[in-house]
C-alpha cells in the first residue's frame, strides 16, 4: 500500500511477488532461474515477515502466509468492509484525543476513517496547521518542527509510524504532537 511504502516500512511492505522475495532477490531469481513448477512456497519467507504478521490483529496461525499485493483478487472496497466474524457489537469508531504542544485545547479524531499513516498525518497537519516532514525508520521525523507521537495501551509514548497501521489503531490511546526538540529522545537511534 502506498502509505507503508512512503514511510519505508520494509518489514511490512506488501509486495507484488510471492512473499519473502525482496525486489533485489526477485529480480536475480527471475533472470537466473527459469520458473519451474516448484515455486518457493510462501512459508519460506516467514523470517522477515513473521513478526509483523504474528502481531497483526487477525487470527493467524504460526504458518500464516504474508500478504501478496492484490491476492486474493477481491475488490478493495469489499476487503475494507468485511467485518471479521468474531466481532460483537459494532464499535462506532476509534476516537482518540489529540493534543499539540502550545495549542489551547485538544481535538478528537476517529482513527477508523483513515486507511493508513499518510492520511492520518495529512489530517493532523490540516487540523493543527503544521508539517511533520518525512518519516524514516532510522531517524523518525528528523528535522521537523513538530513530531506526532502516541501513548500506547501500555502507557508508553511512541513515535507514530513505527508499527503496522492495524497494530497502531488497536493500541493507540491518545495522540500528542510534540515539539521537535522534545521529541529527540523518542527518535530511533541507529
Amino acid at each position: 500500500m502506498a502509505s507503508e511504502k512512503d514511510l519505508n516500512l520494509e518489514a511490512t511492505e506488501l509486495r507484488l511477488g510471492l512473499p519473502g522475495t525482496s525486489d533485489e532477490s526477485a529480480k536475480n531469481q527471475m533472470s537466473a532461474t527459469p520458473r519451474s513448477n516448484k515455486r518457493a512456497l510462501p512459508e519460506e519467507s516467514m523470517s522477515s515477515n513473521a513478526t509483523a504478521s504474528k502481531n497483526c490483529d487477525q487470527e493467524t496461525t504460526p504458518h500464516t502466509k504474508a500478504q501478496v499485493v492484490g491476492w486474493p483478487p477481491i475488490r478493495s472496497y469489499r476487503k475494507n468492509n468485511l467485518q471479521p466474524k468474531k466481532s460483537e457489537a459494532e464499535p462506532s469508531g476509534i476516537y482518540v484525543k489529540v493534543s499539540m504542544d502550545g495549542a489551547p485545547y485538544l481535538r478528537k479524531i476517529d482513527l477508523k476513517v483513515f486507511k493508513g499513516y499518510t492520511e492520518l498525518l495529512k489530517a493532523l497537519e490540516d487540523m493543527f496547521k503544521f508539517k511533520a516532514g518525512e518519516y524514516s525508520e532510522r531517524e523518525g521525523y528528523n528535522g521537523s518542527e513538530f513530531v506526532p507521537t502516541y501513548e500506547d495501551k501500555y502507557g508508553d509514548w511512541m513515535l507514530v509510524g513505527d508499527v503496522p497501521w492495524e497494530m497502531f489503531t488497536n493500541s493507540c490511546k491518545k495522540l500528542r504532537i510534540m515539539k521537535g526538540s522534545e521529541a529527540r529522545g523518542l527518535g530511533c537511534v541507529v
Partner: protein, 581 residues
C-alpha cells in the same frame, strides 16, 4: 421497381426514417457497429440515430471524437482503469478521469441522460458540472469508482430534476456527513432506483423517509449501514411496491415493537425479488425475512458476516426460485449442499471469502462446488473462492456444460491438487473442453504450460482471461494468443512470460481491447519495440520505483505493463510514474 434484373435488393430505396426505425430494433452494440460498416448511407443513418454507446476503455477514443461520431448520444458507459486496479495493482492517479468527458459533452450540448461508469476517477467538480449541464439527466450508475464525496452527490440530488436512478456500487466515497440526501427537492418524485449502500456516513433519516414516501415509482432501494432497523421498517410501510431491497443495519431486539412492525410490513412487500444488505446483522433474526424468500430471484448476503452457516441454510431453504446467489464462504460445503438441493433455478453463484488472508481456514472446498454443479443444472456463472480444488472435482464440474463465466480463486495461488499433488491443468482443461460457450475464465492453483495448451485448443469463445502465478514458459502465453481468437482482455500477473511471447504476434493486440502484464519477464526493450511497431496501441509502463526512464536499461524487466488499442495515441493525463512508450 424494387427488383432490378440483377436480383439485388436495394435497401437504399427506403427513406432514411424507415431504415432508422429498423435500426431501432437493433440494440446490441456489436450489431450496431456492424450496421454502420455496411455502406456510407447506413453509416450516416446509424450515426445520427445512435443513442447508446459503450466504451470499454475510456482511452480508446477522446471525448471530442466520440461526440462528433455520435452527436445524438444519450446514454454512455465508460470504463477507466484496468481490471487489476480493483486489487490495488494500479496506483492512485493512474488515470480514468471523468471530468474531460463531462466538459466536452456539456460544451457540445449533448443531451446526456444516462451515465454508467466503472473504475473511473469521478471528482465532485465533474458531478456538479454533470448535474448542471444536462437538463434531462436521468440515471447515474457508479461502480468501483473513487474521487468524489457526498458533496458531489448533493449536487446531483439538488440539480437533476428528473433523476430516476442513482446507483452507487462499491465506490470509495469520502463521506462529509452532510445532508446530501436532503438535497433532493420536494418536487423530485421521479426516483425509481436509489442505492447508497457503499456510503459510510449518517444520513438524514427523516429526509429519507419523506423521499421514499413521495417517490411512488421507487422500485429499488439499497440502504447503508447507518440506516437503523427502525427506519427500515418505516420505509417498507411507505414502499410496499419495492422490487429490490438492500437493508442497512439489521440489528434489533426480537422482542421489540419495531421487530413486530417489521414482520407485518415485510409481508406486504410481495414484489421483492432481490434482497441484499444485512451490513450489520443480529444473529437469529432472519426468520422475519422468510415470507418473502419464496419469490426471491437474487440474494446477496456477501456482506452479512454476522450470519452463521446454519442460519444461512435455513434461510436458503425458503428460496426455491433463486437464480443468483452471492454468499460468504462461511456457508460451508454442507451449506452449498443445501443450495444444490433447494435452488434448482440457480444460474449464478458467487462465494466470497470471509477471511481473505487466512488461506488455512476458508470454509469451502471442492466438495461444495461439486454439489452445486450436480444439483443446479442451469448454473452458468461462477465466482468461487476456496481453500483447495482437485482435478477430479473440476472434471465432474465440467459436466455442467453451460458455463459462460468460470472464475476460480484458490486462496493459496499455487496450490496443487491436494490429493494427487498434481497441477490443475487437467481439471481446467476439462472445463474449457466441455463448456463450449465459455467467455470468461480466471485460473488459480498450480498450473503449467499444459493448461494453456488446452485453453488455446478448446476455448474458442473466450473473451476475457485472468492468469496469475501460472505457466512455465513463453509457450503458455503463445498457446493462448494463437488459439483464442475472440480474446478481448488478457490480464496476467506473476507468470514467466517474456519478450518472445509478447512480440510473436503483435497484430493480435489490435483485435483486443487490452493486455495487462505485471511481474512477468517482459523487458523494457521489448515494450519499446512493440510500441514502435504498433502505432495504434498505447503501451504504458507503470513504474513505482525511484528510477527514471533514462536510468533503466532496455534489458531490465518491467514491473507493470498495460497496453490497449486506441484511435487517439498517447493520452495527455498520464502521471509521472506512467511511461508512455
Amino acid at each position: 421497381m424494387l427488383w432490378g434484373s440483377r436480383k439485388t435488393i436495394n435497401m437504399n430505396y427506403f427513406p432514411d426514417e424507415v431504415l432508422e426505425h429498423v435500426f431501432d430494433f437493433i440494440t446490441s452494440h456489436k450489431d450496431r457497429n456492424s450496421v454502420s460498416l455496411v455502406c456510407k448511407s447506413w453509416y450516416k443513418i446509424e450515426k445520427y440515430s445512435r443513442q447508446r454507446v459503450f466504451l470499454g476503455n475510456c482511452y480508446a477514443i477522446c471525448p471530442e471524437r466520440l461526440i462528433a461520431r455520435f452527436p445524438e448520444l444519450k446514454s454512455l458507459t465508460l470504463k477507466g482503469k484496468p481490471h487489476f486496479a480493483d486489487f490495488n495493482l494500479v496506483p492512485d492517479d493512474w488515470g480514468g478521469f471523468l471530468y474531460p468527458w463531462i466538459k466536452a459533452m456539456a460544451k457540445s450540448r449533448i443531451g446526456l441522460e444516462e451515465l454508467k461508469l466503472k473504475r473511473m476517477v469521478v471528482s465532485d467538480e465533474s458531478l456538479e458540472l454533470l448535474s448542471k449541464s444536462f437538463p434531462n439527466f436521468k440515471s447515474l450508475v457508479l461502480v468501483s469508482c473513487e474521487g468524489f464525496t457526498t458533496d458531489g452527490l448533493a449536487a446531483i440530488a439538488s440539480n437533476c430534476r428528473f433523476l430516476r436512478e442513482l446507483d452507487l456500487q462499491e465506490n470509495e466515497v469520502e463521506d462529509h456527513r452532510g445532508h446530501w440526501l436532503s438535497c433532493f427537492p420536494e418536487s423530485c418524485t421521479s426516483l425509481v432506483s436509489l442505492n447508497f449502500a457503499c456510503l459510510k456516513g449518517e444520513i438524514n433519516l427523516a429526509s429519507l423517509e419523506r423521499l421514499v414516501a413521495r417517490s411512488t415509482n421507487l422500485k429499488s432501494l439499497r440502504l447503508n449501514r447507518a440506516v437503523p432497523f427502525d427506519t427500515l421498517q418505516r420505509l417498507l410501510i411507505r414502499a410496499p411496491q419495492l422490487v429490490d431491497l438492500g437493508t442497512g443495519s439489521y440489528v434489533h431486539d426480537p422482542s421489540s415493537e419495531a421487530y413486530n412492525k417489521f414482520k407485518a410490513a415485510i409481508q406486504s412487500c410481495n414484489s421483492i425479488r432481490s434482497l441484499s444488505g444485512f451490513l450489520e446483522v443480529a444473529p437469529r433474526c432472519m426468520s422475519a425475512i422468510y415470507p418473502i424468500c419464496e419469490n426471491l430471484t437474487f440474494l446477496n448476503l456477501s456482506y452479512a458476516a454476522g450470519l452463521q452457516s446454519n442460519e444461512l441454510t435455513k434461510l436458503i431453504q425458503h428460496c426455491r426460485k433463486l437464480q443468483r446467489l452471492w454468499i460468504l464462504d462461511c456457508i460451508g460445503d454442507k451449506g452449498l449442499g443445501v443450495v444444490a438441493s433447494t435452488c434448482k433455478e440457480l444460474q449464478e453463484l458467487r462465494v466470497f471469502p470471509s477471511n481473505p488472508f487466512d488461506a488455512g481456514n476458508a470454509a469451502v472446498t471442492e466438495e461444495g462446488l461439486i454439489l452445486v454443479s450436480e444439483g443446479c443444472p442451469k448454473l452458468n456463472s461462477l465466482l468461487y473462492f476456496c481453500q483447495q480444488m482437485t482435478n477430479a472435482a473440476l472434471i465432474t464440474v465440467a459436466n455442467c456444460t453451460n458455463f459462460i463465466r468460470f472464475r476460480l480463486c484458490i486462496l493459496d495461488p499455487i496450490k496443487p491438487d491436494p490429493v494427487t499433488n498434481q497441477p490443475l491443468d487437467e481439471g481446467f482443461g476439462a472445463i474449457v473442453r466441455s463448456c463450449k460457450g465459455l467467455k470468461r475464465l480466471s485460473l488459480s492453483g498450480l498450473l503449467t504450460d499444459q493448461v494453456f495448451y488446452y485453453i488455446g485448443m478448446y476455448a474458442k469463445k473466450h473473451e476475457m482471461l485472468s492468469i496469475a502465478f501460472a505457466g512455465d514458459s513463453d509457450k503458455g502465453m503463445l498457446y493462448v494468443l494463437n488459439g483464442c481468437k475472440k480474446l478481448r482482455k488478457l490480464e496476467i500477473r506473476d507468470c514467466p512470460f517474456g519478450d518472445a511471447a509478447l512480440l510473436e504476434d503483435m497484430g493480435e493486440y489490435e483485435t483486443m481491447r487490452s493486455l495487462w502484464m505485471s511481474t512477468c519477464d517482459v523487458t523494457l526493450g521489448a515494450c519499446k519495440m512493440l510500441a514502435k511497431k504498433m502505432p495504434n496501441l498505447n503501451v504504458e509502463i507503470i513504474n513505482e520505483s525511484e528510477q527514471t526512464e533514462s536510468n533503466l536499461d532496455d534489458s531490465q524487466k518491467v514491473d507493470k505493463m498495460y497496453l490497449y488499442r486506441t484511435l487517439v495515441g498517447h493520452r495527455e493525463d498520464a502521471p509521472e510514474f506512467v511511461w508512455l512508450l
